[in-house]
């Protein structure tokens, strides 16, 4: 259904969802928009916006009248789907026999305000962990199954965004339970599932008018027009494969710190390590999953020999995975154009600039 509600109805929607879910939403904390469990709609950073550039981030008061004046959190929702560190198996040893206790993540989250890029990011992770994997991940599945998604159309992009290049639209077409587009005077609500419809029907709504739908399309068009960055994906995987031995990787390797930041702020980077946490005296051992990164010097070791010794080769692995290998693995790009890796790279490396250089090789 596509309906219109007064802006004041947003709080009612929030509270209805809150009754059934733990809501995770963008919040402003110490000058940075992050993600957190929230209790009230007031905790969202309405009236603020972020200024983002390569290796630069600042939040300031927005000079428009819109609630959804900010753009997106500084890190993606993935840490709520796969926690950065969690025990997945407890092992107890008694009389030479092992007993296993399987731990599951009992969470019923509603993500309130997922932008197009992050929604696409969740879709990409779905393919990695569930849909295109012959051994689906039961931990991911459990959280994902209970997940409720409220999406929001972007009115404007940040200066690092290049979503449209990666096939992501500022106004999402699928994957949400409810989509909110903030118009000048009202909110346009679109539902993607019955679950979403159930909530919207409890609001004080009316059918959307033709001109309101038009307005939402215009917002999207304007947003796309204001994008400052782009990445040309046309034939890019082939170009990368052709240039796998290029000196450009060494050149980037001189700038990259292998700090792992890009992988951690990326909505699709999924790599993790498995470590054992031992409690010797109690005969207990926990198997723990913890975020890892292909920039970690211990990542690709075989018998303690690191296959990707140089930083250049680790950067190449990451970049080629996003823009070439992923296409072979999952039939899509591993990048959603959110631009976070550009903002949060302390070495000022910009994936879109590198694309232009690689194309000129």
């Amino acid at each position: 259904m596509i309906v219109t509600v007064e802006k004041s109805q947003l709080e009612k929607l929030f509270n209805l969802i809150k009754k059934e879910y733990e809501i995770v939403a963008p919040v402003l904390r110490e000058g940075v928009i992050g993600l957190s469990a929230v209790n009230s709609l007031n905790q969202l950073p309405f009236g603020y916006t972020e200024v983002e550039e390569k290796n630069f981030y600042r939040v300031e008061k927005s000079n428009d009248k819109y609630m959804f004046s900010y753009i997106r959190a500084s890190f993606p929702y993935k840490r709520f789907l796969i926690p950065p560190e969690f025990t997945f198996l407890k092992v107890k040893r008694e009389n030479g026999k092992l007993a296993f206790e399987e731990l599951t993540i009992e969470k019923k989250y509603a993500f309130f305000d997922v932008r197009g890029c992050d929604l696409r990011g969740i879709e990409v992770l779905d393919n990695v962990f569930l849909k295109k994997n012959q051994h689906p991940d039961s931990y991911y599945e459990k959280v994902r199954k209970n997940l409720f998604i409220v999406s929001v159309t972007c009115r404007k992009p940040s200066d690092v965004c290049f979503c449209y290049s990666m096939g992501v639209c500022p106004k999402p077409k699928r994957g949400f339970d409810i989509l909110i587009t903030e118009l000048d005077d009202v909110l346009l609500l679109e539902t993607g599932t019955e679950k979403g419809e159930k909530f919207v029907k409890k609001l004080d709504y009316r059918d959307a008018r033709e001109e309101e739908i038009e307005e939402s399309k215009k917002i999207e068009k304007n947003c796309i027009k204001s994008l400052k960055r782009s990445l040309n994906t046309e034939g890019f995987p082939e170009i990368l494969y052709r240039n796998i031995e290029s000196n450009i990787w060494n050149e980037i390797g001189k700038r990259c710190f292998a700090c792992t930041s890009c992988t951690q702020v990326c909505p699709t980077c999924f790599c993790f390590d498995i470590v054992e946490k031992n409690n010797v005296n109690e005969g207990l051992s926990e198997r723990v999953r913890i975020y890892d990164s292909c920039f970690n010097p211990d990542f690709a070791t075989v018998h303690r020999f690191n296959i990707r010794e140089s930083i250049a080769s680790r950067y190449r692995q990451w970049y080629m995975h996003k823009f070439a290998y992923w296409v072979d693995q999952f039939g899509e790009f591993g990048c959603v154009g959110c631009g976070r890796c550009i903002t949060w790279c302390p070495a000022s490396i910009d994936v879109t600039e590198e694309e232009k250089k690689i194309r000129k090789l």
Partner: protein, 266 residues
């Protein structure tokens, strides 16, 4: 509901055979299903898991040959007959003997890589009438690091089984030299199908020798070793070019991986 891919299964070690000073073959009672070329993740309490190729299975007894190379494998090698072993699997693709039907099957292995070849070799022996010939070339560093010596007599009898030692030894009367020399010396048909497992440099140079004999890379299948942690294609550690070695492999057609295999740091 999706089944938890990390749950471990329990099996009893019924026999432990000493292969070399640091390598043992475990015979494990087990009623699972496995295929030659696949591997299991073997767990040791408090230490972790290691991917170990399946060296044999007859429907009841599973065989794993394990060298104490790291923390996990050292601990597994300390297990005794009657102890329980915890594993999950089987994982990965398998050696497909159908490809070699009617042709000459050539098995090439080096070092512990022989453990990943042994079972398919035994299967090939059982079905040797289906192939024009079965040749197995195995390179070992030293006399003392030879694996499965107690089977040699039978293998010599059944197929064209050849061993070469990197280092000469007074106790050794056979070939001495690298596996590449043994390949060079052996008469091989152009239309042979090759199954290979060994360290990366051995594979690379063996392929060159095979190519000199007219065996093209599309006829060569290689079992690879990478850092496998989850073995279900999600932790990312074993990634190799566009492949997850854990689930797309460990066996690859060489023509499909060559561009990555022969490059540094992929």
């Amino acid at each position: 509901m999706v089944e938890n891919p990390y749950l471990l299964k329990e099996a009893e070690i019924v026999e432990k055979i000493k292969e070399t000073t640091d390598t043992y073959t475990f015979r494990i009672k087990c009623s699972d299903s496995f295929k030659p070329g696949q591997y299991n993740m073997i767990y040791y309490f408090g230490i972790g898991e290691a991917p170990i190729s399946i060296a044999g299975f007859d429907g009841e007894i599973l065989e794993h040959t394990i060298r104490a190379a790291g923390d996990v494998t050292s601990h597994i090698d300390s297990l005794k007959e009657g102890d329980l072993l915890y594993y999950r699997g089987s994982y990965g693709n398998f050696w497909d003997l159908e490809i070699a039907k009617g042709k000459s099957l050539v098995l090439v292995s080096g070092g512990l890589g022989f453990a990943a070849i042994k079972w398919v070799m035994e299967e090939a022996i059982k079905r040797k009438d289906e192939f024009s010939s079965v040749i197995s070339l195995y390179g070992s560093k030293n006399y003392d690091s030879l694996l499965y010596t107690y089977h040699y007599e039978m293998w010599y009898r059944e197929i064209d089984f050849k061993i070469t030692l990197d280092n000469p030894d007074p106790r050794w009367k056979g070939d001495v030299g690298l596996i590449t020399e043994l390949i060079r010396k052996t008469k091989l048909n152009k239309d042979s199908i090759v199954f290979m497992c060994g360290p990366d440099p051995m594979v690379k140079f063996s392929v060159i020798e095979l190519e000199k004999k007219g065996i093209t890379p599309d006829r060569i299948y290689v079992s690879m070793e990478r850092h496998m942690k989850c073995s279900v294609g999600t932790c990312g550690h074993c990634m190799f070019g566009p492949f997850f070695v854990c689930k797309d492999g460990p066996i690859f057609r060489y023509s499909e991986i060559r561009e990555f295999f022969e490059r540094k740091e992929v």
